[in-house]
Amino acid sequence: MSTGTATDATASRTVTAATATYRSLARTLGTGAPVYALLIVLLVALAATDPGFYEPDRFLAFVKRAAPLVILAAGQYLVIVCGEFDLSVGAVVTAGVVAAAEVYGTYPDAPWALMTAGLLLAGAAAGLLNGLITTVLRVPSFITTLGMMLILEGAVFYWTGGSPQGRLPQDFRRLGRDTALGWLPWAVLACGVAGVLVVLLMRSDFGRTLVATGDSERAAHLAGVRVRRARVLAFVLSGVAAALAAVLVGGFSGVSAQAGRGYEFEAITAVVLGGVALGGGRGSVVAAMAGAFSLQALFTLLNLQGVSGALESTVQGVIVIAAVGIGAADFSRLRRRTHPPGTPPDTPQVTPPGAAPGPPAPTPPPPATPSRTPREGHPHDPQP
């Protein structure tokens, strides 16, 4: 529970043993605690609705369906944790699928490995462009990747004349369809490998650098971090993740102009559901991926419950807002309770007469950083 060193330092003197155990648990889980709870609730609900859900092949099918979103969420996490957005991933997925079909139309005998590698490279190139425009030209990433989304979608449809045609050969679709060793779908394997790689990455120096960059760009810069390089690399990796998702989605459902539509928002939702702060510097990648699994579990559950397809998005909207809202509210209330009556809160709360209704929060509202994120325990906050 990374809620600022000042809060932790003063509070730890007063906490009781009971809260101490809670704290250590909360610290291990990080800001992602709510998402694990949500995931468990959803999985239990799934089991209750459909007793056969945990039969190995059905469960693996569920994981397989979740794989593209999990991979996208991992890529999106890298970008979000360093304080940026990537809205172009959905367009990269669409563009990847359509472009692969188009290339296969011209060269029907292209080997699938070459094609996959080519797609991953193209995804990296799109990410590189995003990163360079964001860092060198200092365009906010929301706009950069929004522009990239328009450009990619426009370019792909311009190229194909509005209706993507052609089909993907079986050996290319194998990664999305077939299984390894007879039981393990390749998509699950790809998802697992990507997950392990990204966890290792976040434990490496680069990962720490990335989080530091998102937390405070200036402090990271002064500490010798090559801020721009870290950000560009994050965008590149997000592009690669999107391309990998494109290979999987192409394998699942073939060529479609709608292949990646909406994935960018789903990925961001998954990451935020995982307790990762938009604006950077907080949250773990495992929680982000758990967020993606939760989202997929939610979709599956709604399907099983027979909620009409139309209302599905309503339920999704309510749950997303509620989950994020509860996550935000719980932590602030917990911190408030750790101050026994009589102890002054950590930070002097200046409340102008008649202003700011509601109980005072222990930490003042964050200064508006370029990224509009409620960031608690910000380094620039006045310390007692």
């Binding site: 200092r138 997303v320 700011a356 003042p364």
Partner: protein
């Protein structure tokens, strides 16, 4: 970044002090975007004329202005929200729902009840957005995305296709003209003028800028930042409601795709940013936004005249948006250096 920017500072500071006030005005994005709109128009005129066409015909100019109205209304509202450092992604679905509510209410009842119903719906959605952002402390991006999902489910559950019918008396708003000028343009100008007055001439407007510039500082100075953000969201949604009413009168019925097909959510944010409003809040204004909308509309019209592939238009749009913001970023960096 600061390190590299420090070195040439003396020279720049000297240049700055020498620069006359007019140049500072020119560097203001709001002025720049209007100049850009003029430049794009001139360029379009030259290109179209070279192809043997005539760009600046009365019909074409009126068409361009007419095309500005819907996006303009949304973007002006979006400006108010972005100025406070928030944003609204639910506008597209709110437009769709607005047209449906307008058309179905007007089918059975009077025009007035239809207008009131849409405005009430908009205000309620705006209030909900504002309360979720400030009360639940959900990031605006997620909060409004969530409301967008909720609205989408509502629309898909209740409407399968175009619904309702707008009476002929209400269609005057979409189709009538005063002389050559479409009536709807006056609606846009009126809404913009009201928002300009609110943002630039009232206490609430100053609070908007203060909240967006530095919420913490604004709060410590006695600004009720929560109320400000909520009010901005309500204001934005009311503008979106106006856009929905305009589209309903234009379409003659409500349509579930009215707002989503044109992607008013992302387009409006693009127009706002094109108009020089900073995405993080605190700087910019509705006048620049109107210029941004005009640039997009003129570009559209030029491409139509040239018969450019509609998909290629998106490519150019993306490039223009990125390039414009890159330009602003350069200027901003120079000023702060």
């Amino acid at each position: 970044m600061t390190g590299t920017a420090l070195a040439p500072q003396p020279a720049r500071a000297a240049a700055k002090s020498r620069a006359p006030r007019g140049r500072g005005r020119l560097a203001d994005p709001a002025v720049g975007v209007w100049l850009a709109a003029g430049a794009v128009t001139a360029l379009g005129w030259i290109v179209v004329a070279a192809r043997g066409g005539d760009f600046l015909t009365l019909a074409n100019v009126v068409g361009i202005l007419q095309n500005c109205v819907a996006l303009g209304l949304v973007a002006v509202g979006q400006t108010a929200v972005i100025l406070t450092g928030s944003l609204d992604l639910s506008v597209a679905y709110l437009i769709s729902l607005g047209t449906l509510v307008a058309a179905t209410t007007m089918e059975d009842g009077s025009v007035v009840t239809g207008v009131l119903a849409v405005l009430a719906l908009s205000a309620a959605v705006g209030l909900a957005n504002g309360l979720i952002v400030t009360g639940l402390k959900v990031n605006a991006f997620i909060a409004t995305l969530g409301t967008a999902f909720i609205l989408r489910g509502w629309i898909e559950d209740n409407y399968t296709g175009p619904a309702g019918k707008v009476p002929a008396s209400f269609q005057h708003l979409g189709y009538d003209r005063m002389g050559p000028v479409p009536v709807s343009l006056f609606l846009l100008l009126a809404v913009t003028a009201v928002l300009w007055l609110i943002t630039r001439r009232t206490r609430f407007g100053h609070h908007l800028y203060a909240t967006g510039g530095d919420e913490h500082a604004a709060r410590l100075s006695g600004v009720r930042t929560r109320r400000t953000v909520i009010a901005a969201h309500v204001l934005c949604s009311l503008c979106v409601g106006a856009a929905a009413l305009f589209l309903a009168s234009r379409l003659g019925a409500g349509a579930p795709w009215a707002g989503t097909e044109a992607r008013y959510d992302l387009e409006s944010i693009a127009a706002v940013v094109l108009g020089g409003t900073v995405l993080a809040g605190g700087r910019g204004g509705v006048v620049g936004t109107l210029g941004g909308v005009l640039v997009l509309a003129v570009l559209d019209s030029v491409f139509n005249q040239l018969g450019v592939d509609p998909f290629f238009k998106n490519v150019v749009r993306g490039v223009v948006i990125i390039a414009a913001v890159a330009l602003y970023a350069r200027r901003g960096a120079r000023r702060s250096a």
